[in-house]
Subunit: 83 residues, 2 copies
C-alpha cells in the first residue's frame, strides 16, 4: 500500500485571485510581512499496490489525465509506503 501526496499549483504566470484574496485577508489581520500567496490543491491518494515504480507511473498518469490541468497548473507528488 502506498500513500501519494499530490500538490497542484497554478503556474507562476497564471493569475491567482484566490491567493490575492488570502493575501489581503492576512494583511488585514496584521500579517504585513506576507509578500505573496499562491493557492493550490492538495490531494492524498491511497493506492493498493506494493511496486513503487508502478505506483509512481500511475500517479503521474492520474495527475496528467484528471487531477491537474497541464495548461495552467503544475504538479508534484511524494510517495510514501504505508502499513
Amino acid at each position: 500500500m502506498h500513500l501519494a501526496k499530490v500538490y497542484i499549483t497554478l503556474k507562476p504566470t497564471v493569475n491567482d485571485p484566490q491567493g490575492l484574496t488570502i493575501k489581503g485577508a492576512l494583511h488585514n489581520l496584521g500579517f504585513t510581512s506576507v509578500e505573496d500567496v499562491r493557492a493550490g490543491k492538495y490531494i492524498e491518494i491511497r493506492i493498493e499496490d506494493s511496486d513503487p515504480t508502478k505506483v509512481n507511473e500511475q500517479v503521474n498518469e492520474m495527475c496528467h489525465k484528471l487531477l491537474a490541468n497541464p495548461v495552467i497548473e503544475s504538479y508534484g507528488f511524494e510517495l510514501e509506503r504505508i502499513q
Copy 2:
C-alpha cells in the same frame, strides 16, 4: 525571506464528497487500485522575514486564524529559506 508550504486536510472523521468524486473518476479511468482519496488545500506563502522562529509562529497563527477551520480541518506546514 521564507517560503511556507501549508497543507490543509479534512480530519479523518469528516466526510469528503470531493475526495469521493475524485476516487470515482479515477476508478472510471481504470485506476482501480485507488483505495481512498482525500482532497485538501495547498497554500504557498512568501514572507519577508529572516527569523525562522518568528516566521514559524506567524504561519501557525495564520493557519489557526484564517487558513484552516480547526473544527474540521488539520494543517501542517514546512518552512524553507529562500534567496
